[in-house]
């Protein structure tokens, strides 16, 4: 295991490429040894996602990394904008941005559209949305914990965690009709109610996880193997997390109390007074390594259980949607005009959807999605610094990356990649805004 030296506060968090190269050359002159390039990817390095990581290594040590994305840009936003799809059809497209956050994206998207069109969501629907999204958080965090164990080479723990995860998937299937892709939110409410017969099943699941959580924490955090592989590995210092705009558990593991549910509460979240969880809540001093990320994610499972419990107890009665008839909803959305922003704390961090509607058009004029990994990707640079090659998979996996969800376009012309400068991008965005104003 290698400990990275604390960063000099005057150093930039992301040094320029030339500086890194110069430092490498100085190292070679000082007899530290040659630097080699190790390309990993673009077909699933560590996790099953298309991204290429080019490491510069000296011996076993990583001295630099280059991240290249753009292998699987699916153009979902484009498909949703003026391609002959109405908003209800786009809703299911948004659900398919991410298979794991398959309720987070629709929640952010419906909120954006509801703000743009001025639609109210009945309280009961808000509670149901919260319950489903917290159940999703449990399943996602357990999935990640299993993947992390797998990346450490501890497959027993992987199977143990995933076996435990089955229960929450069963509950989601019971409540929504499917294990993944729940199809629950719709503009103005939710599509399925939680019936009286279903409450006991959810309560049973909560009890099941309450009993297991302590054991899970024990299996992960008091295991010498896990500790040896994760303590001091992939450190993201608080300052780095702040400067690189990390979100979600990645930022919280570094000790930042940052959570959209706490900072800008939406839906029914004000009722639950969510507090961002950091390793300090477990009596540890946050250092931002992989171990801390495990701590945060497992504690958040407990937090989600609290929220679901509270939601079930205080569930308001009433309607579950303000538009029970689909034709009325379609007609209303066609007339709506305006722009809206929707946000949600997905299991991986903050997800943001921006939409713009014009009246007389069933489709969206603009749709912009920012998935959490987009904000977290840059934290890889400091995390990989000075680490060993063997730790690449777990460091790559520790931000819980979802590459396809955040992928952006790469411009390749005549077989060469094009780099766009800040000025060019700014100009492009002005042009687009002008075009849209018209």
């Amino acid at each position: 295991m290698t400990e990275r030296e604390p960063r000099d506060p005057n150093d930039p968090v992301l040094p320029a490429v030339e500086e890194v190269r110069e430092a490498e050359l100085r190292g070679v002159e000082a007899g530290l040894g040659e630097v080699f390039e190790v390309p990993i990817g673009p077909i699933h390095p560590a996790m099953k996602e298309p991204i290429r990581l080019t490491f510069r290594v000296r011996g076993e040590r990583i001295v630099g990394v280059e991240i290249r994305t753009g292998f699987a840009h699916r153009g979902i936003e484009f498909m949703g904008m003026r391609q002959g799809r109405n908003l209800i059809q786009v809703l299911y497209l948004s659900e398919r941005i991410c298979g794991i956050c398959s309720v987070s994206h629709p929640i952010a998207f419906t909120q954006a559209v509801e703000r743009a069109a001025g639609i109210e969501v009945p309280p009961r629907a808000q509670y149901i949305r919260v319950i489903i999204s917290e159940l999703e958080r449990i399943h996602s965090h357990l999935l990640w914990a299993g993947v992390a164990a797998h990346e450490l080479g501890f497959d027993t723990l992987l199977h143990l965690t995933w076996r435990v995860r089955e229960k929450v998937l069963d509950i989601l299937e019971e409540l929504t009709g499917n294990r993944i892709d729940y199809a629950i939110p719709i503009f103005g409410g939710v599509r399925r109610d939680i019936t009286p017969e279903q409450y006991p099943k959810v309560w049973e699941a909560i009890r099941y996880y309450r009993g297991l959580l302590e054991q899970l924490l024990d299996a992960f955090l008091r295991d010498p193997t896990v500790e040896a592989r994760t303590r001091g590995v992939g450190v993201l210092e608080p300052k780095e997390a702040e400067e690189l705009c990390a979100v979600g558990p990645t930022a919280r593991a570094s000790g930042l109390r940052k959570d959209v549910r706490q900072d800008r509460p939406y839906l029914a979240y004000p009722d639950f007074e969510v507090k961002a969880i950091t390793p300090a809540d477990y009596g540890l001093t946050p250092i931002g390594d992989v171990y801390d990320k495990i701590v945060v994610r497992l504690l958040e499972v407990g937090q989600s259980l609290d929220i679901i419990e509270k939601a079930l107890m205080n569930m308001p009665e009433g309607e579950i949607t303000s538009f029970p008839k689909i034709p009325a909803l379609l007609a209303y959305l066609k007339k709506a005009e305006g722009e809206g922003l929707g946000w949600h704390e997905a299991p991986r961090g903050e997800v943001i959807h921006y939409v713009r509607l014009v009246s007389g058009d069933e489709s969206l004029l603009v749709w912009k999605v920012k998935a959490p990994t987009y904000s977290n990707l840059l934290s890889w640079y400091p995390m990989f610094e000075d680490q060993e090659i063997a730790d690449i998979p777990i460091i790559a996996a520790c931000i819980d990356p979802c590459i396809c969800c955040m992928d952006r376009v790469y411009v390749v012309r005549d077989g060469r990649e094009e780099t766009w400068t800040k000025e060019q991008l700014l100009k492009l965005s002005w042009e687009k805004t002008r075009r849209l104003r018209r």
Partner: protein, 130 residues
């Protein structure tokens, strides 16, 4: 936790549901052929919950040909047959969102618990509902 689970697992029955046959047949295709002939029986899969979203079932008699389901379907599963004013659904494309079920004004569409839809031919008769 690991040791405890290990011991518990050793002493308990396997959690796997043996599907489609209790004991591995020599040839799966031959086994399935026998099932089709009615000479063998499939070991049933784990039951699905009541709200499960499976293959869409269509009640031709109820349908009034309003085409609302076509408007909301995100996967363009549904095709209108203007001559009879009824619909045809290509289940191979369906994403099982059940939006068409919610949209239909006369409840002509419903969800069946059927999920065994694997086929080598997207246009096979089992995968077209009309």
């Amino acid at each position: 936790m690991i040791l405890k689970t290990l011991v518990a697992q050793l002493l308990s029955r396997p959690a796997t549901n043996r599907f489609p046959a209790k004991y591995m047949p020599k040839s799966v295709t031959r086994f399935l052929a026998r099932v089709r002939e009615g000479r063998a029986q499939i070991h049933p899969p784990v039951p699905v919950p009541p709200k499960f979203r499976g293959k869409i079932a269509y009640d031709r008699e109820k349908c009034i040909g309003c085409q609302l389901c076509i408007r909301v379907c995100p996967a363009k599963v549904i095709e209108f047959k203007p001559e009879v004013k009824k619909i045809r659904m290509y289940v191979a494309r369906c994403t099982f969102c059940a939006q068409c079920v919610d949209a239909c004004p006369v409840n002509a569409l419903s969800l069946s618990p059927e999920f065994l839809l694997a086929s080598t031919d997207r246009l096979s008769s089992e995968l077209i509902v009309e």
